[in-house]
Symmetry: C2
Subunit: 222 residues, 2 copies
């Protein structure tokens, strides 16, 4: 039997990633109370068994309550655990990440106690949050240069040039534009939206693309 | 604050997969006590905060205690949760899976209360164990035909023909042998072991291969 007093602490932590000023950035919160009061950390909180239908629900509730973000798609990353990661006791934290355009994080950027920092300058967070952030970046980069993940940093409609640019930033490497175009088309996760956009100074309007159905939304069940 | 009496139940469940008689199989345990006493289910148990250094440790301890398996490499799959999946209350279960040759499961096959069943005949398990098994199979198949995962069903040394056969079984599809050989070599996760083996009736001995360092062992940290 599991004696409730022996039960581990169960929390969720979220890694909201976006692109800003050409850099991969993470949204962090300044912790309002102990432990680690005043330190910048990932946005996290306890599971509420009276209202959460599952841990994905907990992550979305915490994002809404602590960052004013009610419409982010979160994907489960991995669960981190141990006796020492939280000074309050043996704990497990189910980590989630989200990839979104900067506009989707706007409510959080205007709120006090929240900050957007480049992912490669976010080190030194309390708990094992550096490890969780590193795992999120590895997931983003490790799925291969042609997964549909980086496309989630864009608005609903985008040009191929914009798609190419976010993949280069997300993956931290230069990608040959022709090979990129061919591979992305081969993978088949985008389609023409039917609209065009004329960029300033361009002679011809650019075709706009969108993620195909089934690629635009994360699995919310886990 | 998290009141311990409100804390969710935290468990681990393990999906040990192997190949037997040319089929993908899962090891299950007959539950010795309530809930669901007598039913076949995934092997699972509570986290022990006094002895487990992390949840991967919990999974290995449970496998040793309940199945006599002390040397399986487990990889974290995903965490499943909710108020209804366990009749004892709001629970989260961190699921792990292992891929191993049949010989590695031998201690469990000789123990009472354990059974090996084809994965496609394992439906009808209690809790959400059908969902967890389906997620493990999706992980195995979803990493693409040329990930290193199915190779873990083989002994340390294997022929290319054996490798081809386990991939066909694991993925449930026919794979052109020449394309398979080319792709696997391209991916670069196997290397010649330096040994050869003469199969009964063969004119020439076959080259033996092994997984390269870094591919043979799962990350045990999570």
């Amino acid at each position: 039997m599991s004696n409730p007093s022996d039960r581990p602490i169960l929390t969720v932590d979220i890694v909201p990633l976006t692109l800003a000023n050409g850099r991969l950035c993470v949204l962090r919160a300044l912790r309002p109370e102990a432990p680690f009061a005043g330190r910048a950390a990932l946005i996290g909180g306890y599971v509420h068994t009276d209202e959460d239908r599952h841990l994905g629900d907990s992550a979305r509730r915490v994002l809404t309550a602590k960052a004013g973000l009610s419409a982010l798609y979160v994907e489960q990353l991995s669960t981190f655990s141990g006796p020492d990661r939280d000074p309050r006791g043996w704990s497990a934290s189910v980590a989630y990440f989200s990839l979104s355009p900067l506009t989707a994080l706007q409510p959080a950027l205007e709120a006090p106690g929240l900050e957007l920092v480049p992912a490669d300058e976010a080190g030194g967070m309390p708990f094992d949050h550096d490890t969780i952030l590193a795992a999120a970046l590895a997931r983003l980069r490790g799925k291969g240069a042609y997964s549909d993940l980086p496309a989630r940093f864009l608005e609903a409609e985008f040009t191929l040039a914009e798609l190419h640019a976010v993949y280069e930033i997300a993956l931290g490497e230069t990608l040959n534009i022709d090979a990129f175009r061919r591979k992305v088309m081969e993978r088949g996760f985008i389609e023409e939206s039917g609209a065009k956009r004329r960029e300033p100074g361009a002679n011809r309007p650019s075709l706009l693309y969108q993620l195909k159905a089934g690629h635009a939304v994360f699995d919310r069940r886990m």
